[in-house]
């Protein structure tokens, strides 16, 4: 009787059908057996330009064209392979040294096997994406060879063979096949390149030797290349797990199943690990189950988690809970004398650190009521590492002076720019060359027996303090994409370029659905020197006594269509980043500063919101339409204010501006009544010399009436558009919300205000908060009010973009603006969110059919996640740039300024200087020589000094500080230094 099982069909050389069986666990918990059949082919080309046989057999598309071959006919030669060679790297080579493969000077003509590609994907998705983009790079000539699909190189697992052994065998067999194949094809015609397998697995290398396959270890291969030192440095330092040396170990992580079980039944929690900027030993994890973030104190409890990692934590028993630290602790200072070479007797927690922590614990137990212990936890597993490339500089102290001129490898410490990342051990041969430069490293691993993580060098950015290097460092730290736009993106721009104009003929398809508003007296008001004008306004008196107000926004969605290369690039960038002297654009300049920008005196496409309002600023009607406008004038804030105030100007445009001003004031009053918050951020303007853009002076920004004018109407436009878009797309409208801050965030501030100023801070609602902020005034110290507002801002949650379907309607609220619903609409040139909202609004008013990308919930959620991150990073990059420039402005100068104490620690305080908008730490030990005695009163928020200097430093106290800059001895880095006068 015939069997039901199909026999594998064969043709002369072997079976043409094979199958792969494995088990897949789905997210819902089901465990499935998956059987995949593999159809084995004989026509997958070897892709070498030398091979004519494969060219004849290669599969062709419907036009009869075959995919062009990648591997060069004349590959580079090395000492061992004088006839040229192609390389076949093993999986561990890619995992350990992806940076070396990406380096521009080495590794061309590489064969990436399908087996290796899939193993890399299972190991790490980011590495896989990098490998795929390498293979798409034409200059690098990486060819992905599907060896598992090709009949000659298909390897079936033997009974009892492990999967790894089978994969190694597949790599060796593919290498051998390539060698034989090329030898056949090339014959004596030209030089036959050798095929070299590169692997770090000793077993694999040994077997390769036995089988007669050319193979080398990665280190051996790289050391024969040009520039080998730099390349060898770039190999990852993560070693295969050996027996752990040293007695002091970090605790083991829990197994994956234990963590999963714990998370499912609630005994373990997960969240993102953040580090306090003031105390590097204190970490926090925000878990939704607790209203306050959980504390993680000490290196041992931190258990090798790095800021940004997604960790699993376990709550400690209540007896071990501690209060958050009141000390300033910086790793630089505490661990100055560490030995970079890993020691067997190295302690995870040094004696010094242990003492510091114990002092904290004693203080907690000593107190009766204040300093309440908060829930404390420890890290038991890392769910996902979030390591990126870190910018930093080498610690000069860690470089052995004896190795001055030698090229031997030594281990040095890299101090990252971000204070929350621990020092990284890096092995390098170029230590002397790299000292004093900004370098980029990647973190590889943090072993259980090592006090610090290890990493490898990637590249050098230039001298410390050099403007180019600093700017690049800043941009890298905040993951800002600053490379120029690639050709694919520039190809999406209109072909007329700068000569593009609004079509003259109203019958032209460009005019479809647009209203002709060229007769309206539109003007724009922007910061001085602004070239990307997003918005313009107009006001007109209507015969019935009401006013017609219009806000016209640049019509970017007309030029940036969904799903092309320019759209993808803009979505990835998310926003334009403004540094003091540089602007990293989200869209190419042609659009941002010319075609989309609402420049004066020319016709431009716009998206208009037109309201009819009563003289009391009550909205009667709102209209949304695409339009064509011609802006009459582009004002700066000052120029506009001047024009409005100048009584001699009586033309219609000025009248319109005056109307706008009056109405904006009324709108603002309404908002304040509803509870909008007026929070001050320390905005500082850096004046630079025009030629060199060296900073000359730093001034705080002044707020004029016209600033507020534009702001009010932009807010009104955003709210109206939000309502309209939500009405048409209740599940997928892209909106912006600001969650109300939990009361616990304000506890500390409210207590401080009560104790020090006798002021009551009510936080029940935004109106209550706004009102009580208004009452927090000290007539002698007018700045206190601003300081309190700044501190209140820091207690707030951040606003975020979200898609309407992901939150319930009450959650749409924007706490800070006291609005039920809000979105960003008015700056599509510099924000991707606004561009999406433009597309949604255009679909809502039936101007065009909605594209699938503005409907799809998954895509929108991904977009929201990205733009939230980019928005935050852009803000932080901007602030860091200002800080840098302020530092540069202070170079060589010593300035005495007023400051206010913002925070008091047991060993120092933080002073805020309003003129420059900077905060500085002042340590007790720097206040006098020798260090004065200090008593810290946590409840009174004061620090009393005695001994060599007598003083009492209280919170909110106005002090005078001397600001100077000094170079740190160890690194040559300049820092801003404040001294109490």
């Amino acid at each position: 009787m015939a069997s039901l099982k199909r026999p594998a069909p064969t043709d002369g050389n072997g079976p043409t059908l094979s199958s792969k069986v494995y088990i897949r666990a789905t997210r819902l918990g089901k465990v499935q057996k998956i059987v995949r059949e593999v159809y084995l082919r004989k026509d997958i080309p070897c892709s070498s330009k030398l091979c004519t046989k494969c060219l004849a057999n290669a599969p062709r598309d419907s036009f009869g064209k075959a995919v062009s071959f990648v591997l060069s006919a004349t590959p580079s030669a090395t000492k061992c392979y004088p006839n040229g060679h192609y390389t076949v790297p093993d999986t561990n080579a890619f995992i350990n040294a992806m940076d070396v493969f990406e380096a521009g000077t080495a590794f061309f003509d590489v064969i990436v096997l399908q087996t290796v590609l899939e193993e890399v994907r299972n190991h790490s998705i980011p590495l896989y994406h990098r490998l795929v983009s390498l293979s798409k790079n034409e200059d690098k000539r990486f060819y992905v060879f599907f060896n598992d699909f090709r009949q000659d190189t298909h390897v079936v697992r033997d009974h009892g063979e492990t999967i790894n052994d089978r994969n190694d065998r597949a790599v060796r067999s593919a290498t051998k096949w390539y060698a034989n194949h090329l030898a056949d094809v090339v014959m004596a015609r030209s030089r036959c390149p050798s095929i070299v397998m590169i692997s770090d697995d000793n077993d694999n290398l040994r077997k390769a030797k036995v089988e007669g396959v050319d193979a080398q270890s990665l280190a051996d291969y790289v050391s024969e290349l040009e520039d080998s030192e730099r390349l060898l440095d770039m190999i990852s330092q993560a070693k295969t797990p050996q027996s752990l040396r040293g007695q002091h170990l970090y605790p083991d992580y829990y197994s994956q199943s234990k963590i999963q079980t714990g998370l499912n039944n609630g005994t373990l929690h997960q969240g993102t690990f953040s580090v306090s900027p003031y105390n590097y030993l204190e970490g926090t994890v925000f878990v939704s189950a607790f209203d306050r973030p959980l504390l993680i104190l000490g290196r041992e409890n931190g258990n090798r988690a790095v800021a940004g990692d997604f960790v699993a934590i376990e709550l400690l028993p209540k007896a071990e809970w501690k209060a958050p630290s009141t000390k300033l602790l910086e790793e630089d200072n505490v661990n100055k004398n560490d030995n970079p070479e890993a020691d067997d007797n190295e302690a995870i927690v040094t004696e010094h650190e242990r003492r510091l922590l114990q002092e904290e614990a004693k203080k907690v137990h000593g107190k009766s009521k204040e300093g309440n212990p908060q829930p404390t936890a420890r890290v038991v597993g890392i769910i996902k590492r979030n390591w990126r490339q870190y910018v930093g500089h080498i610690d000069k102290d860690s470089v052995k002076s004896s190795a001055k001129y030698s090229r031997s490898q030594q281990t040095v410490f890299l101090i990252p720019m971000d204070k929350r990342i621990p020092k990284i051990r890096v092995r390098t041969r170029m230590a002397k060359d790299l000292t004093g430069k900004r370098i980029v490293v990647a973190m590889d691993a943090w072993e259980q027996d090592s006090r610090f993580p290890i990493g490898h060098f990637i590249k050098s950015l230039g001298e410390l303090e050099a403007k180019g290097a600093e700017t690049e460092a800043l941009l890298m730290e905040f993951d800002v994409q600053y490379r120029p736009f690639p050709k694919a993106v520039l190809d999406c721009l209109p072909s007329e370029g700068h000569d593009w104009v609004v079509p003259a003929d109203p019958q032209d398809p460009g005019w479809r659905g647009r209203r002709d508003l060229r007769d309206l007296l539109v003007c724009s008001i922007d910061p001085p020197g602004c070239v990307d004008i997003d918005d313009a306004l107009h006001a007109k008196k209507l015969p019935n006594g009401n006013f017609e107000i219009g806000v016209h926004i640049a019509d970017v969605s007309n030029f940036v269509k969904p799903n092309n290369a320019m759209d993808a690039e803009a979505a990835a960038r998310g926003t334009t980043v403004y540094l003091v002297d540089k602007r990293i654009d989200m869209l190419p300049m042609l659009l941002g500063t010319d075609l989309c920008s609402l420049k004066p005196y020319v016709e431009r496409f716009a998206f208009s919101v037109i309201w009819e309002v009563t003289p009391n600023a009550a909205i009667v009607r709102a209209d949304f339409t695409k339009s064509v406008i011609r802006s009459r004038e582009a004002f700066s804030y000052e120029a506009a204010q001047k024009r409005i105030d100048d009584k001699s100007q009586k033309d219609e445009l000025t009248d319109g501006m005056r109307t706008l001003l009056v109405l904006s004031k009324k709108l603002k009053q309404k908002r304040m009544n509803a509870g909008a918050l007026n929070l001050a951020s320390p905005e500082v303007r850096v004046e630079t010399e025009s030629e060199t853009s060296d900073p000359v002076d730093v001034k705080t920004k002044q707020l004029l009436d016209t600033n507020s004018l534009v702001e009010e109407f932009m807010l009104l436009a955003n709210i109206s558009v939000a309502t309209r878009v939500h009405q048409s797309f209740p599940q997928t409208a892209l909106l912006r919300r600001h969650a109300a801050p939990p009361k616990t965030n304000f506890e500390e501030l409210a207590n401080q205000l009560k104790v020090k100023m006798g002021m009551d801070l009510k936080v029940d609602s935004s109106k209550a908060l706004a009102d009580s902020l208004d009452t927090c005034v000290d007539p002698q110290k007018p700045f206190i009010n601003t300081l309190v507002r700044i501190m209140a801002t820091r207690c707030m949650m951040s606003a975020e973009y979200f898609s309407a379907g992901t939150q319930a309607e009450p959650e749409f609220r924007h706490y800070g603006l006291a609005s039920e619903i809000y979105t960003h609409f008015t700056s599509p040139i510099r924000r991707y969110a606004d561009l999406m909202v433009h597309r949604q609004l255009a679909a809502a008013i039936d101007y065009e059919l909605p594209d699938s990308s503005i409907h799809s919930r998954n895509k929108l959620e991904a977009i929201c996640k990205n733009i939230n991150v980019r928005h935050r990073n852009a803000q932080m990059a901007g602030r860091a740039s200002v800080e840098y420039y302020v530092g540069q402005a202070l170079k060589g100068r010593v300035i005495d300024e007023e400051g206010y104490v913002m925070r008091v620690f047991s060993n120092g305080c933080v002073v805020f200087v309003p003129r420059f908008g900077i905060e500085g730490l002042i340590r007790v030990r720097d206040m006098a020589e020798p260090e004065p005695e200090s008593t810290f009163d946590n409840e009174d928020y004061s620090l009393t000094l005695s001994g060599s200097r007598k003083a009492k430093i209280e919170l909110f106290q106005q002090v005078k500080v001397r600001i100077s800059d000094e170079a740190e001895e160890s690194t040559g880095k300049r820092k801003v230094r404040m001294d109490l006068l």
């Binding site: 465990v31 057996k33 994956q256």
Partner: protein, 372 residues
């Protein structure tokens, strides 16, 4: 349980009489000259369905075939099970009191097994498929071997789905075919290997080659535990006959389905496999639906009968006969009625359960089938 829907028996009364009288001889004379305990050869192969956890196909020599596939799915146990996890004693008493062989510490639930049968020509809610499924699952669950293997920990267990597909219309009662197919499929079933701590939520090894068989074999090739098989036995006259063909079933007085499971007392002494009787079910013999027959000479409907009835004295034809032999003179064949003789039942038990008896031989034959 009337085997409704089985194909109608198209044998005439004389044929039925002939069969019944030859089978009632001592020793019984079977149409194909087999002995009473001799089985027809069958073909069995395993792992015919690649996407299942285990599968088998069995073909009998009368042309009937069946394919069975076993799939296992992970399921959460309701929390109440762990309430009674205080001690092994209480739990052993909890569900099963009959089985002194169940010395395992953990107990599975009967709800963890689901058997579904598909027979061509029958809807799944008809009586034949439903009763067959019930009988098969009763046999599998009876001594607890199968469900105890499905327990993972207090919160998780495997749910076993057995799908049996009969590939040919049932010529005779399909129970033994389906049972043997299920047995083979279960022997070839493999579970993904657990790689997490047993107390944690389960995580399994991706590699199918590392999968653990549900019924493991020791290194010597001996099975510690095996699933049961069900055999069909007929009684006719004073004889019992195994592996009845369609014709033999047509004239049987009684049909018994006996389920036995092999029980290894100790692994050390593999020859000591004892058989445990797990279930007995009585099937309505199809012979009850056979047409009764009387001699033409006695039949008033025929000419000869009319003549006979007027000439001879009236003799009430005995319609009811206890066994095939000893029919009334007037009846050629009458469907049997009445129950099973207790003596015959005892005879069946002895024949099946004795060491080296029928069941033992079948089990050894099945165990010899290669499982790939």
């Amino acid at each position: 349980m009337a085997p409704s829907g089985t194909q109608q028996i198209l044998l005439s009364p004389p044929e039925l009489h002939f069969l019944s009288s030859s089978l009632s001889q001592t020793p019984p004379i079977r149409p194909d000259l087999r002995s009473a305990t001799q089985f027809r050869p069958l073909v069995a192969e395993t792992n015919v369905l690649p996407s299942t956890n285990g599968s088998a196909r069995v073909c009998f020599s009368d042309g009937t075939e069946a394919v069975a596939g076993v799939k296992l799915e992970l399921e959460r146990s309701p929390p109440s099970r762990s309430i009674s996890s205080t001690g092994t004693d209480t739990r052993n008493e909890e569900v099963r009191s009959t089985n002194e062989f169940r010395t395992t510490l953990v107990q599975g639930s009967d709800a963890w097994l689901e058997v579904s049968i598909e027979i061509p020509g029958f809807r799944d809610d008809e009586s034949l498929p439903m009763f067959l499924a019930a009988m098969l699952s009763e046999a599998l669950l009876a001594n607890g071997n199968v469900q105890d293997k499905l327990w993972i920990n207090d919160r998780w267990h495997w749910k076993l789905y057995i799908d049996i597909l009969s590939l040919s219309p049932p010529l005779s009662y399909p129970l033994p075919l389906l049972s043997l197919t299920t047995h083979m499929a279960l022997l070839s079933t493999a579970l993904p290997r657990l790689k997490s701590d047993p107390k944690d939520d389960p995580l399994f090894d991706d590699d199918w080659a590392a999968a653990v068989p549900l019924f493991p074999r020791a290194a010597s090739g001996v099975y510690a535990v095996r699933p049961p098989i069900t055999l069909l036995v007929i009684t006719i006259g004073d004889n019992i006959i195994f592996d009845p063909t369609k014709e033999e079933l047509a004239v049987a007085n009684g049909v018994v389905a006996v389920s036995v499971a092999p029980q290894l007392t100790t692994v050390a002494a593999p020859a000591e496999t004892s058989l445990e009787l797990v279930a007995i079910r009585f099937v309505d013999p199809p012979s009850r639906l056979t047409p009764a027959g009387i001699l033409n000479s006695r039949n008033p409907a025929t000419a000869a009968g009319v003549a006979a009835s007027t000439s001879t004295t009236q003799q009430t034809p005995s319609v009811h006969g206890r066994s095939g032999a000893g029919q009334g003179q007037n009846a050629v064949w009458s469907p049997p009625c009445g129950g099973l003789n207790r003596k015959l039942l005892a005879k069946i038990m002895v024949a099946i359960l004795q060491t080296d008896g029928v069941a033992f031989q079948i089990l050894e034959a099945l165990a010899a089938v290669e499982i790939r």
